[in-house]
Amino acid sequence: MATETRHCVSGPAVPASLDLVHTLLEAVWSEHPDVLPDDRMRFELGVTEIAGNIIEHAAAPGPIDFRLAVEVFADRLEARFRDAGRRVDVDFDEATMPDAMSESGRGLALVLAVVDELSYRHDGSDNHWLVVRRRSPG
């Protein structure tokens, strides 16, 4: 199957860069109006949470950049993040919703609730995140 155009953005891993992520996704949706609103919304939530995770955890102690590539396929939406930050300690089994009155710790559990595939690996120099949401039948 032919791959659709890849949309990419890179920037510093700081909170303001979340706007770059949203702007990129707006461009993706305008080029793919066939992606259903619910798929867009849930994928965007998953992608935003992973971007937030990179900004919060991988960036310390020094400033780093991250790169995001998004691809729309006939059956799925894919986002791939890459950053040169430190290795992140991730345990997907531990990613459950915290108590209602907790002010943090929901990010990864939210991602797992809205995507079909989530993977993280560190290749010795870079962190790689893959976020996949299968598209709902239109």
Partner: protein
């Protein structure tokens, strides 16, 4: 950006976050609730009619505000949720703690 409306009553503050409530503006919301409660406006309503997107950081700030308002003897309510924000609330099971109101007047009345 967060608008503050104190015209409802002496102990009420209505906060209106505009656009996306993510880690970019979560601190602004915390500061706004902090100031409102500090000024004795312990009944806080967050009008989410113009908030198109919220992530876990934004939600964390809302929960923080809820705790702060309750500790001061008041309450925090959320109103006019857009579909994305409603989804986030449901996925995190917070709709059990933070009942979504249809509008600011409904939130103020509590019905």
């Amino acid at each position: 950006m967060i608008e503050l409306d104190t015209s409802q009553a002496h102990d009420v503050a209505v906060l209106r976050p505009q656009g996306r409530l993510t880690m970019v503006h979560a601190g602004d919301l915390r500061a706004a609730v902090d100031q409102a409660v500090g000024d004795g406006r312990t009944h806080v309503v967050i009008d989410l009619g113009d908030c198109e997107f919220m992530d876990s950081s934004g939600l964390g700030a809302v929960v923080g505000g809820l705790k702060q308002a309750r500790q001061a003897g008041g309450d925090l309510r959320i109103a006019a949720l857009q579909p994305q924000v409603m989804t986030v609330l449901q996925l995190t099971n917070l709709d059990r703690v933070l009942r979504p109101y249809g509008s600011v007047p409904e939130a103020l009345r509590g019905d």
